[in-house]
């Protein structure tokens, strides 16, 4: 009986996995969650719609913009607030930058788990550029509170636009360098190929989404299946790999970074001029009923469901987070695996524990 305890050296977060071992092989791996439960959904019931905005960034702090987008989109959908085109385009640019930065963290942390100590520092060098851009834009580096109902908090300036263009130009060769250094590396290939196979049926059974299901051959991406914001206007591919092992999930995320760069370029080229904030009533009261809004966050499908009873605080706020479902298939998928392989698979699922516990 081995306890992969809540305290780890630097990987995963506060996740506890109770493993029953037979020598080297795992017979049962039971994740125990709840060590960082902060009651975001309850906090939602006690705050007004606008007061909940800081919370959205903190549910999954690595892809904070996506989560804010979902909440803001849900409220706008319910209150029928119109968002100007410029704001939508900027939302897409910042979301995709956030996706790249989240994938960079995943990449570095997974390689750190596997014993390669250098790539995380290269990844963080690139991430610094993104964080500096977003800091110049909205003042925060990780927990942005940038979107408002009806648009953005403040407009983009030329410094941000030029900086983003430079970043996109510099990032493409860096992705090539990552491919040469790590992806093509025979040691990594041997470490990840064939490890942790997850079939599409298993994903469907537990509701896993994001790169987990796209690495198993199912073309499910919220941006194409339930298009939101201005994503239909952009031309980008959804990377799908059929094998379903850790290498497939790895390649999906690396390709997603490349596609995000494409989206950012197209958005920068077509950014319309205009206002950055729509018309919003002073005190926001939503009509009674419930509304959902789903977003493709960096880890999978994030959905917000708000139930309003006409007051200015939500009656119920439900957050459907991707990591919760991604983790739930771990118990079944890791049976009979050898321990280091199980860890490599855990790394490839890209879990952020605050996302699981909310």
């Amino acid at each position: 009986m081995l306890n992969l305890g809540p305290q780890h050296p630097a990987a995963h977060g506060v996740l506890r996995v109770l493993m029953t071992m037979d020598g080297e092989w795992i017979t049962k791996a039971e994740p125990v969650i709840g060590y960082i439960h902060r009651m975001h959904e309850k906090m939602g019931e006690n705050r007004t719609w606008a007061q909940f905005l800081p919370n959205t960034s903190r549910i999954d702090y690595l892809s904070a913009m996506h989560y804010t987008h979902a909440f803001v989109g849900a409220v706008e959908r319910a209150a029928k607030i119109e968002v100007p085109a410029r704001a939508e385009y900027v939302r897409v640019i910042t979301s995709e930058l956030n996706r790249i930065s989240s994938h960079l963290v995943w990449w570095g942390a997974m390689l750190l788990d596997l014993g390669g100590f250098t790539p995380i520092l290269y990844a963080f060098e690139d991430r610094e550029k993104i964080l500096d851009l977003l800091e110049g834009l909205c003042g925060a580096r990780l927990t942005y509170c940038y979107y408002r109902f009806g648009g953005l908090c403040n407009d983009v300036d030329d410094e941000f636009l030029n900086g983003t263009r430079t970043f996109v130009k510099e990032m493409r060769p860096r992705l090539g360098m990552y491919r040469n250094l790590v992806t093509d590396n025979i040691i990594l290939r041997k470490r990840l190929t064939g490890v942790g196979p997850i079939s599409a049926e298993l994903c469907r059974k537990y509701g896993a989404t994001g790169p987990v299901i796209r690495g198993s051959g199912v073309p499910y991406d919220v941006r194409t299946v339930e298009p939101y914001s201005v994503y239909p206007k952009f031309d980008f591919k959804i990377p799908i790999y059929q094998e379903g092992d850790s290498m497939a999930r790895y390649l999906v995320r690396m390709d997603e970074m490349e596609q995000s760069l494409r989206i950012i370029e197209q958005a920068l080229d077509n950014l319309p001029a205009g206002p950055f904030m729509g018309k919003v009533p002073r005190v926001l009261k939503l009509p009674p009923g419930d509304t959902c809004y789903a977003v493709e966050a960096a880890r999978g499908r994030f959905m917000v469901r708000i139930v309003s009873d006409g007051k200015d605080t939500p009656y119920r706020l439900k957050l459907r987070t991707p990591s919760f479902c991604n983790l739930s298939l771990y118990e079944e998928a890791s049976r009979g695996m050898i321990l280091p392989d199980a860890l490599a698979m855990l790394g490839s699922l890209d879990l952020v524990i605050p996302d699981i516990d909310r």
């Binding site: 081995l2 992969l4 050296p9 080297e24 390689l111 788990d113 596997l114 014993g115 390669g116 100590f117 250098t118 520092l121 290269y122 060098e125 250094l181 790590v182 590396n185 040691i187 990594l188 041997k190 470490r191 321990l339 280091p340 392989d341 860890l343």
Partner: protein, 349 residues
């Protein structure tokens, strides 16, 4: 000066000479263990585009002193329930083989503590004792995971000794002697006289060197083959129950092993204390060239550690049994054939 020269190089004073050598070797190993750690951290820093330790002393040069003081200041504790004798014996047994190996390594033309005729054989037999000492360390800890970890170290080391010995046999066929000083003397001249470049005797000589290098990395449990010690992330590694200076001794022994391995590689492949250009040789240049080549190889070992992730355990063993052993057998056969080729041609024509 002449008195020292007489002691070092002359026939008399054998015991004083031996004592000087032993003290020198211990000092060399100690200084290496301390400052190679600093070199590794600084090298890691440069590869990762950060400075490495630079706070203690000017540019971090007192960092090993700080580390040493920290290790010495820790409580030396023998955990209850462990086998006390073996627990205390293991660090000593791990440190002894590299120290003894260094007595047969020629640093310069006349700078070798004991010029034994079977020096090469001695180095490899002591390497096997190293394996046993690591096993003892894990076993004496009475910790389930430490035992699993040491069992893995043993199987890894045994698997990689075989290609290493095959490679060494290949070289023995080329050099014809096990005396390390003579091996170096055979490589006199410009750098193309070094064993690494002798492709007319063994066409796959660079491949032989690569196999030797990989086996050396695996024998010393260095990345990317450090499954055993880096397992301490999750499961206890082989040395969990050792604290303070006990752990420090294991650490020092690892660096001493690297030094021995790289010295051996320079002697066998790169001409030991021979200079690459004939001009700059002599009693002072010899050791300098030797140290330069050895440290170049040590820096390569450090470079490799910080570049690659860890191999998986069965991949590690697969590499040895399925790739390295066949290739080294092929080089062995090829060398034998190439050496006998002139004779064969002579008989045919």
């Amino acid at each position: 000066m002449s008195a020292i020269q007489e002691i070092l190089l002359g026939p008399g004073w054998p015991w004083v000479r031996l004592l000087l050598y032993l003290v020198g070797i211990c000092a060399f190993v100690g200084a290496n263990a301390a400052y190679l750690v600093l070199a590794e951290r600084k090298g890691a820093g440069r590869i990762q585009r950060r400075p490495g330790p630079n706070e203690s002393g000017y540019a971090g040069w007192l960092q090993p002193v700080a580390d040493g003081i920290k290790l010495l200041a820790k409580q030396v504790m023998v955990p209850p329930g462990t086998d006390g004798f073996l627990y205390r014996l293991a660090p000593l047994m791990v440190m002894a083989p590299p120290l003894i190996c260094l007595t047969v390594i020629p640093y310069g033309e006349n700078l070798v503590a004991r010029n034994i005729n079977v020096g090469l054989l001695m180095v490899f037999s002591l390497g096997s004792i190293n394996v046993m000492a690591l096993m003892l360390g894990g076993w004496a800890s009475r910790n389930k995971f430490a035992v699993i970890s040491s069992a893995r170290i043993v199987s890894q080391n045994v698997a990689y000794e075989i290609p290493m010995l095959l490679v060494v046999i290949t070289l023995l066929m080329v050099t014809g002697t096990m005396n390390l000083n003579e091996i170096v003397q055979h490589q006199a001249g410009w750098f193309w006289h070094w064993n690494f470049f002798k492709v007319w005797v063994n066409p796959l000589m660079p491949v032989t060197f690569v196999i030797f290098f990989i086996c050396m990395l695996a024998e010393t449990n260095r990345a990317p083959f450090d499954m055993a010690e880096a397992e301490s992330e999750l499961v206890a590694g082989a040395f969990t129950e050792y604290g303070g200076m006990g752990f420090g001794v294991f650490f020092m022994a690892e660096y001493a092993n690297i030094v021995v391995g790289c010295s051996l590689a320079t002697i066998l492949f790169f001409g030991g204390w021979q200079s690459p250009v004939v001009i700059l040789s002599g009693p002072i240049w010899g050791p300098l060239w030797f140290l330069a080549k050895m440290y170049a190889l040590v820096l390569t070992v450090i470079w490799i550690r910080w570049t690659f992730p860890r191999t998986q355990f069965y991949n590690l063993l697969n590499l040895s049994w399925k790739i390295l052993i066949p290739v080294s057998l092929v080089t062995l056969l090829l060398t034998g054939a190439m050496m006998k080729l002139p004779l064969l041609l002579h008989h045919l024509f």
